[in-house]
Symmetry: D2
Subunit: 137 residues, 4 copies
């Protein structure tokens, strides 16, 4: 499963002493972006060359335990369904602890749709990208 | 229904030309905070005097249409369920358009829990607060 | 002097218990945007109709005292110099305290330049806007 | 010179199509945090074990060229002066371009002070830390 490391800086926390809840959505997008890059696609190139952007259509997170300043988190990204114009992701946020062990902090379900970059209208996921995503598993 | 106005500044947008998806969660929290203030409670006072904070346990948004730079949005906050330690909110983001008309952009479901400020353990919603929330409807 | 109220929400704070330093730059931009609106100019209209945007060329803040969660701040915006393609602002962040009194928390110097929206090249401030800014004082 | 890579995600950009100006201050703090970690100090440990935190006393950036979505930036952090209670940093933001070449986008001057974590009063930089910072150059 693809995971991406995220370090918690002051910018991510709030005065409750923990990571501000909306920022988990940022972390999850970083992991989705890096997953796409790992499959071989750069989003700026997709936009300029194929006129394709991805936008979040719905996003839901269950917050199980708080993350704190200076912790190292791992954010996973796994496609649970690929439609003609959409991708469903399950994403997890885990805290790295001693001995390669980890603790689950949050679980998200994110539905991303493929849009025509100029008009924001729904657009078929380009076939080359789709094929590569399917190979990537 | 309680609503709170939010102006879209550059800080809220992204290079797709629209409000960045995670920022709707910020807007919704602003509306919940102002709703609580309208009921008569300041969160810093609640924390210092009653040792109570509220934290988001789960958050989900459906994004229907994008909001854009410089638009004036209205964010609603309505309690759909009040438990012993939790509050469920339905929240809507609407764009104000000419003639007092509005257009629905996003709908959220937010579950907030009451915590002991020092330990982050679940805590009964204080009875005075609960009574005032029930009167507020 | 033009001032704009800003309420401190969790999103603005960090785990040090105070407003995160970079967020003062957001607050100052909100005040500059509202100042321009008060003079009669909407930035989205300026961009679409006159092809003009404003961008920050340099920004500096001295942080005197920390702002905290739930405080009400006032952010001022005053033009100290108007050039052919630039505007210099002095901006202050103050905390409102009892009896209409206030306490100075931060002082900023922001240099904004006028750009051609499409190319990002320097552009003369439109003469109608310049005249109105000068009248506004 | 110490540098830290930062990828530009949607969260960092604004509807002008470039990185939002306040976010450069976040990037610079990430580099300062990683620089301190590279010297051997974790800020959460410093806070809990030595009662020491660092806070920004003043921050200034000159913005030379805009950074854009999906670019890879390098953020440098170099101490230009170490006082009894303060550290002055010069920091640069560069865009990585083909062939290990880079382009300078922004230059910052950041003054950080050492504070007693509980009271926020100025505090001498711990001598072990100071010694290690001096060795690090």
């Amino acid at each position: 499963m693809f995971t991406w490391p995220v370090r918690v800086y002051y910018e991510d926390t709030d005065s409750g002493g923990v990571v501000y809840y909306a920022n988990y959505f940022k972390f999850m997008e970083r992991a989705r972006s890096e997953w796409l890059r790992a499959v071989g696609y750069e989003q700026d190139v997709l936009a300029h060359q194929q006129g394709v952007i991805f936008a979040v259509r719905s996003a839901a997170i269950d917050f199980l335990k708080p993350a704190r300043f200076n912790e190292l988190l791992h954010i996973s990204a796994a496609v649970t369904h690929m439609g003609r114009v959409s991708l469903s992701f399950k994403q997890q946020v885990s805290r790295m602890i001693k001995g390669d062990d980890s603790e689950l902090l949050a679980v998200g379900q994110i539905l991303v749709v493929c849009l025509e970059a100029r008009t924001f209208k729904l657009k078929l996921i380009p076939s080359n990208l789709k094929k590569d995503l399917q190979s990537a598993g």
